[in-house]
């Protein structure tokens, strides 16, 4: 178990540096990191050259990357376009996005797994067919369309929710945005649970449980569900990172001032420090989520624990 964790941690190191380097290159090589620094105008050549030296942009890219990473590990994420420290932006943005993500994950777990279990146990019946078609529709309609439609219906037409979320973003205002953010993953969780339940329902050990004379409820919950949820837990865990990164669309629709909003501003204003800083933290979150999933996997499946 200990060796397993260490191996996974070691495997994450190249992934961390690879991912951050990739983002760093995208921002600093493809784009022009100083373009946003002179306001809306183009910088004049002299200022530009001065800024380049000041930010070390005249050095080779790998040196820039190392310097940047070094700064990050000392807690210096640089300065955003409006003169605020990037870390300050993070301090206000991350709690909001984390709340939004938690709401989304709760939806995935509660609705996704319930629907998956119900349909998995009733494969081929009407309820199964209807839910399956619904999941396909949810997957097919892009999140931003779902979001705009829900905002139009619930917010504008019926007035059930506020069309845009206030700047504190309390949990009750995040329910509909959370559902929108979760929608596609929710459909995947439903389908994944359904498939997993249906596959395991035919497993020999389920037949054994029935032959032992266990009540159906116990067969389903203790034997079938416990095994079937292993891949689902894996999916939901890895989805945490994807949700936080994908929140950008939802946050834009509902005007939520979270990570996606700040990133979007950073990109619009070509502020490379904001972009790379936020993305680096997101990558860390993603890797941490993956590690937790691996550990959870080992807890849930003794065959891995003792391998």
């Amino acid at each position: 178990m200990g060796r397993y964790v260490i191996r996974r941690l070691l495997q994450m190191i190249p992934v961390f540096f690879g991912t951050t380097l990739l983002i760093f290159l995208m921002v600093n090589v493809m784009g022009d990191p100083i373009a946003g620094l002179c306001g809306d105008r183009q910088c004049d050549p002299a200022t530009a050259a001065q800024l380049r030296t000041e930010f070390g942009l005249d050095k080779p890219v790998w040196q820039q990357y190392l310097t940047y990473m070094g700064n990050i590990f000392t807690g210096d994420f640089g300065t955003a376009f409006n003169g605020q420290k990037v870390t300050e932006l993070m301090a206000t943005a991350f709690p909001i996005t984390i709340r939004l993500t938690i709401v989304a994950i709760v939806f995935e777990i509660v609705i996704g797994i319930s629907l998956g279990v119900v349909t998995g146990l009733r494969r081929g019946r009407p309820v199964d067919t209807v839910v399956l078609i619904l999941t396909l529709v949810v997957i097919a309609v892009p999140t931003f369309v779902t979001g705009l439609l829900l905002q139009l219906l619930l917010g504008v037409e019926w007035g059930i929710i506020k069309p845009s979320v206030s700047s504190e973003a309390p949990v009750d205002e995040l329910i509909v945005p959370g559902l929108v953010l979760a929608s596609v993953s929710l459909a995947y969780v439903t389908r994944l649970t359904r498939t997993s339940i249906a596959e395991n329902a035919r497993a020999d050990y389920v037949r054994t449980a029935v032959a032992k004379g266990l009540p159906r409820r116990r067969v389903v919950v203790r034997h079938l569900l416990r095994n079937s949820l292993i891949p689902v837990v894996t999916f939901i865990g890895t989805d945490v990172g994807a949700l936080m990164g994908g929140a950008i669309v939802t946050e834009r629709i509902f005007n939520i001032h979270g990570v996606g909003y700040q990133l979007y501003q950073g990109i619009l204003r070509q502020n490379s420090q904001t972009v790379v800083g936020f993305v680096t933290v997101l990558v860390l979150v993603f890797l941490a989520a993956n590690l937790i999933v691996d550990l959870l996997y080992a807890v849930l499946d003794p065959r891995i624990r003792y391998a």
Partner: protein, 325 residues
């Protein structure tokens, strides 16, 4: 009689049509008696057993006729919950592949103890003590230390002992063992079979032993039922059948066992393939493969002819078969 299966019919509805897996099976088991059910893959021997246990997948399976009398009650007429209470308490089943038949994520102690928790309402702690006791009884070394281990941590033979322990847990009166030793090494097979026979004697249980291994049968069975294409083709006490089979199929099975005194000769094999259950041949289902087949075999389904008091054969020419040794 402990168990009596009467004219059982089971079919499976598949995309390609209706597969008739069991077509009028009759057999019975008394307390303390061992019935060996013999047959190739697809002969319906496992399906019959699953119907008795009540663990048939329905759908696609369907019991289309017959009775299953257990202690004079027709199991097919019981409510689902009554049926469930019989499973595990009064009849239990041992499966072929213990690794896949045990739940991979629960410890063997939990899986054994579960029987006592569910059927006897015991506390978890008491159930654990019972689990250790059971593991001792099937002679698993260091039971106390290993009760928290998971199935994959045991060897094949040990796993099958755990399956046996689970089946014996509540001292049922009938055990159905579906190819209990097929997946094991030859050396381990005998040990497991001996353990099963020993426990059966101690508890005076009825045992249905499903197998295609004639060697296993000779040692432990009291009587034999041979199945082909969902029908019983021959029933007999165990010794008579080895000496003089009354059905050409049984005869073919016996001849295909390699024997030491036939060294150098070519091994016998029944020609042809097992029948397709979607299209069972008319008349005697065995006729396309039978060396003795006549015109009548292609048209008339043979009834179970009475050979003697204890023997039956579903062959129009059982007399000729008996004589032509």
């Amino acid at each position: 009689m402990l168990l009596e299966v009467r004219d059982l019919h089971v079919e499976f509805h598949t995309r390609d049509g209706v597969a008739k897996a069991v077509n009028g099976v009759n057999y019975s088991v008394a307390e303390g008696e061992t019935l060996a059910v013999l047959g190739e893959s697809g002969s319906g021997k496992s399906v019959t057993a699953q119907a008795v246990m009540g663990i048939l997948d329905m759908p696609p399976g369907r019991i289309s006729g017959g009775e299953i009398l257990f202690k004079d009650r027709d199991l097919l007429k019981l409510k689902a919950d009554e049926r469930r209470r019989i499973r595990g308490q009064e009849m239990a089943m041992i499966f072929q592949d213990a690794l896949s038949s045990l739940n991979p994520v629960l410890s063997v102690g939990q899986q054994l103890g579960e029987m006592f928790v569910v059927h006897r309402g015991m506390s978890r702690g008491d159930a654990r003590a019972k689990a250790i006791e059971l593991m001792d009884r099937v002679r698993i070394p260091a039971a106390r230390e290993r009760v928290g281990d998971f199935p994959h941590q045991f060897s094949g033979g040990m796993r099958q002992r755990i399956m046996i322990a689970m089946a014996m847990a509540l001292e049922p009166s009938l055990i159905i063992a579906d190819e209990p030793t097929t997946a094991l090494d030859v050396t381990v097979q005998a040990q497991v079979m001996d353990l099963l026979a020993e426990l059966q004697r101690e508890l005076n249980m009825g045992l249905i032993l499903i197998t295609h291994d004639l060697g296993v049968v000779a040692d432990v069975a009291d009587k034999i039922a041979v199945m082909y294409a969902g029908r019983i083709v021959e029933t007999s006490p165990v010794h008579e059948i080895y000496q003089a089979p009354a059905h050409p199929y049984t005869k073919g099975l016996l001849r295909s066992i390699p024997r030491l005194d036939q060294k150098g000769q070519e091994l016998y094999a029944i020609k042809g393939l097992p029948p397709n259950l979607l299209h069972i041949p008319p008349g005697c289902a065995f006729h396309p493969r039978c060396p003795m087949a006549q015109a009548v075999c292609r048209t008339d389904v043979p009834p179970l002819y009475t050979v003697d008091e204890e023997r039956r054969s579903a062959c129009h020419f059982w007399k000729e078969t008996l004589d032509a040794r």
